[in-house]
């Protein structure tokens, strides 16, 4: 988390709990006052939207409709009462079949890509691995590699690419959070290689606009900040030249990327 982000977070908590005014927050962080003030003002303005409420008439009518609907469409749990004997035998048989299917299906699913029918299965097997593996860092690194490979595979797909970008960013965020002092250098090396490959594949890193920490703009000049009009919306892919500096930072890691990177300069 950058220092500005920490200051913002602290100020928002102080404002939320009524322990400080905006002016007191700005006095607390004078070095960030210029940047903080508009953000805190907007945060306060957003609270006015809390005044939006559901109509009581609509709420009551919908409740009645919901009860009628539920009466016509009871849940499966209620439907299955009173069929215990036959259901148990069927359930056991199905369980055996499912286990056999799961074993073979899981193996097949590991190569699935976003959009494939087995992709959900792949994610489910990863979630299971996350639960049972005690090594958070190695698991996070393994997942980031998977997301990186998927991202390369769906490059150019207008629907899948932005989803994969987001998934990849989440995965490397998980790596930086799981890394300790000993594993930082390894994380830096692995992610550095991934970034080089992504740049070679044509990613321009406006996609990393929402990446936590100082990744997108650690030492940017004011004129280099992306304009709101350039902010990619859900489903869009960025195509303009990157505005990030030549030494992107992944959380607290510094990843060295060759300046003036071109296809010809890559190994």
């Amino acid at each position: 988390m950058s220092e500005l982000q920490k200051a913002l977070e602290e100020c928002l908590v102080l404002l939320e709990t009524g322990r400080a005014t905006i002016e007191e927050c700005l006095a607390r962080f004078p070095e960030y006052a210029g940047e903080l003030e508009p953000l805190l003002l907007k945060a306060q303005e957003l609270k006015t939207l809390h005044g939006i409420h559901i109509s009581e008439v609509f709420k009551a009518n919908t409740r009645n409709e919901l009860l009628n609907y539920m009466g016509d469409h009871p849940t499966r749990a209620k439907n299955q009462r009173g069929h215990s004997g036959l259901s148990l035998k069927l359930a056991s048989g199905l369980a055996i079949l499912l286990l056999a299917f799961a074993a073979s299906g899981t193996a097949l699913a590991q190569r699935a890509l976003p959009g494939d029918s087995l992709y959900a299965w792949k994610l489910a097997s990863e979630n299971l691995w996350l639960l049972i593996n005690p090594d958070d860092f190695e698991t996070a690194l393994w997942l980031s590699t998977r997301r990186f490979e998927e991202l390369l595979a769906v490059r150019g797909n207008a629907v899948l690419e932005p989803i994969s970008v987001e998934a990849y960013l989440d995965s490397i965020q998980r790596v930086t959070e799981a890394a300790d002092a000993e594993s930082l250098s390894r994380a830096s090396e692995v992610i550095g290689v991934q970034w080089e490959a992504l740049q070679k594949a044509g990613f321009r890193f406006e996609d990393l606009e929402d990446f936590p920490g100082p990744l997108a703009e650690p030492d940017m000049q004011e004129g280099q900040r992306p304009d709101p009009e350039d902010t990619p919306k859900a489903g869009s892919t960025a195509t303009e030249a990157s505005k990030i500096p030549n030494t992107p930072v992944v959380g607290d890691l510094e990843v060295t990327v060759q300046p003036n990177l071109t296809l010809e300069s890559l190994p």
Binding site: H73, P212, P228
Partner: protein
């Protein structure tokens, strides 16, 4: 968060609803309908559309209740995911372009003077319109965190994101919103 939820012992009520207790689910609706409507209304602007989507959220929640796992995410987080997907589906099918003139239904403080109410309403309209120009993730974070008042942890669970990602999204969203509204003033 509403105090009524704490009094409700929500996990117990959710378990009852999962077992098919319709009145239990109706109680959950009573607690969460307002916040779901607010979440949807900020994003679709039109009153009737927001009401329709809100209804559909609870119908879908009832239909899929057997798939909800209490330990995986809070019930409200699960509802917000359904609401988010319902709004996305709405835009995909309707390709709605909300005009700036569309006025959100706002319950204002009755003690405000008329001119102040009008000014406040215009400001809220501009704010809501600017929100639609953010990325979806940015918009969701701002609505859940700063409008609905949920913690970073709760927002992260609702959106399936890491807490660090939510913090960063919050900052970027506020920065973008600030620039958007400044540019509208010019």
């Amino acid at each position: 968060m509403p105090d009524s939820r704490l009094e409700l012992n929500e996990d117990q009520v959710v378990r009852q609803a999962i077992q098919g207790d319709q009145e239990a689910f109706a109680r959950l609706y009573d607690v969460h309908a307002d916040e779901v409507f607010r979440f949807v209304k900020i994003r679709v602007r039109d009153q009737h559309t927001a009401e329709d989507i809100t209804s559909s959220v609870f119908l879908k929640a009832w239909e899929n209740l057997s798939g909800y796992k209490i330990r995986k995410a809070p019930f409200q987080a699960w509802l917000f995911r359904i609401a988010r997907n319902a709004v996305i589906d709405h835009y995909r099918t309707e390709k709605e372009h909300v005009p700036l003139e569309a006025a959100p239904h706002i319950v204002q403080d009755r003690s405000s003077g008329v001119p102040e109410k009008v000014v406040a309403r215009i400001q809220v309209e501009k704010l809501a319109a600017s929100l639609t120009e953010l990325t979806e993730d940015q918009r969701n974070v701002l609505i859940l965190k700063l409008v609905q008042g949920y913690s970073i942890k709760e927002v992260a669970k609702a959106l399936g994101k890491r807490e660090g990602a939510v913090r960063a999204l919050q900052m970027r969203a506020l920065q973008s919103l600030s620039k958007l509204m400044e540019s509208k003033l010019e």
